[in-house]
């Protein structure tokens, strides 16, 4: 049982790290602010979500697990809001050179 959980953790966290890496590469390489935002949200949502998913079986208590999920949910909320605000600023002023 613990072997299956360990494999699950490693797989989920590995996938999460991959999304963070891909999101970072996109943030550095994409040409305009909106597509850079798009890349960033992948790291925030999927990357962090998968890492939290992988850590869930390793928590010691239900409370700790809920805290991890709450962290992910709060980052989602903050990330979505920041993306909206940046996107709106880009639309208003035009993309910065």
């Amino acid at each position: 049982m613990s072997l299956i959980l360990n494999v699950f953790s490693v797989a989920a966290i590995g996938a999460g790290v991959f999304f963070f890496l891909a999101g970072t590469v996109g943030l550095l390489r994409f040409p305009d602010p909106l597509s850079r935002l798009h890349a960033l949200t992948k790291a925030d949502n999927l990357g962090l979500g998968l890492i939290v998913l992988g850590l869930l079986p390793r928590t010691e208590s239900l409370l700790a697990a809920l805290m991890l999920v709450a962290v992910w949910a709060l980052v989602q909320l903050a990330g979505a809001t920041a993306s909206q605000l940046v996107g709106r600023a880009v639309r208003r002023k035009g993309p910065a050179a």
Binding site: L74, L77, T81, Q84, L85
Partner: protein, 315 residues
């Protein structure tokens, strides 16, 4: 080299790189962003040093509140930055400044490197007497019991900072509210964010204060989180900063240091010493003092960010 050690070295290198990037960044806004990232990385360093209390404070005050203050300053300076001054400092002035900076950095590095491996420490004594305070978190014991007078003075400094910011107001605005009078509606995205986040954040702030007695956390960190919630509500224009002559605001600003100092003076009569707490009641007294400090911090930091009064006071 183990994986953790490699990560530590990597983290230290990234901290240096971000610090250098911040120094050489063009423009105040970019430098501020670099500074905020630097603060967040530093809080990771503190976690690796097992100083979670310091990490929380660095993230909340060093990176968060200071970051907001600096972004506000950068926004105000944007006009000035667009028109570069006619002549900057001369080459020799720059050279002297650079030499002085290198000298200070080298002196600091020498002091750190020359420390004995087993540095002088009061940690064993602090842990030994911890049960007498009724607390489980030695950091809170140091702040509110062992060196309470220092902590009172830190709170007084915060109040003085607000007085300093308010003193920048023009005479006719004295006592008025900070910020321009504006009839703009709330920013919808930010308003939604603030409405969802504020209840959660208030809960987290009170929780961080409450667990600070026994676990990492405390009045500073909890108060900073509460302050952030008020700042977000003001930024979303769901609420306005109060007039700076409002009696309730002023009471909240000074409540922390006043209650702390009163408890210290009461110690002379009750427990036989300045800042001595009555035996058996140490923890309740400490939490009582901390509660008022949380209130003061939660009010002080947003007032610093809101800036000097810029509207005439309503009569």
């Amino acid at each position: 080299m183990s994986v953790l050690a490699a990560l530590d070295v990597g983290l230290a290198c990234v901290v240096f790189a971000v610090a250098a990037w911040t120094v050489f960044a063009s423009g105040a806004f970019a430098a501020t962003v670099g500074y905020v990232v630097y603060g967040l990385l530093l809080s990771l360093v503190w976690i690796r040093l097992f100083a979670v209390d310091v990490a929380l404070t660095e993230a909340a005050i060093g990176s968060g509140v200071t970051g907001v203050l600096l972004i506000g300053a950068a926004a105000r300076l944007r006009g000035a930055e667009a028109t570069p001054p006619e002549e900057g400092p001369s080459g020799s002035t720059r050279l002297v400044a650079a030499c002085l900076c290198v000298l200070v950095a080298a002196a600091l590095a020498a002091v750190v490197l020359l420390l004995p491996d087993q540095g002088p420490t009061l940690a064993p004594q602090a842990m030994e007497r911890l049960p007498e305070t009724g607390l489980g978190n030695p950091v809170t014991a140091v702040l509110i019991a062992y060196r309470s007078f220092d902590t009172v003075l830190e709170k007084v400094v915060l109040v003085l900072a607000v007085v300093g910011v308010w003193s920048l107001a023009a005479d006719r605005y004295w006592g008025g509210a900070p910020g321009e009078a504006r009839a703009e509606p709330p920013e919808p995205t930010l308003a939604f964010f603030a409405q969802v986040l504020a209840p959660v954040g208030i809960l987290v702030g009170v929780h961080v204060f409450w667990v600070g007695a026994d676990e990492p956390g405390g009045a500073f960190q909890g108060g900073a989180i509460l302050a952030a919630m008020w700042m977000i509500l003001m930024m979303a224009r769901l609420t306005e900063a109060p007039q700076s002559n409002a009696i309730r605001l002023r009471l909240a600003l000074v409540a922390g240091p006043v209650v702390f100092l009163a408890a210290g003076v009461a110690g002379v009569a009750v427990a036989g010493g300045f800042f001595a707490y009555p035996a058996g009641f140490e923890k309740p007294v400490i939490l009582f003092i901390e509660a008022f400090m949380v209130l003061s911090i939660a009010v002080t930091l947003p007032m610093l960010v809101a800036g000097p009064p810029r509207r005439e006071p309503r009569r």
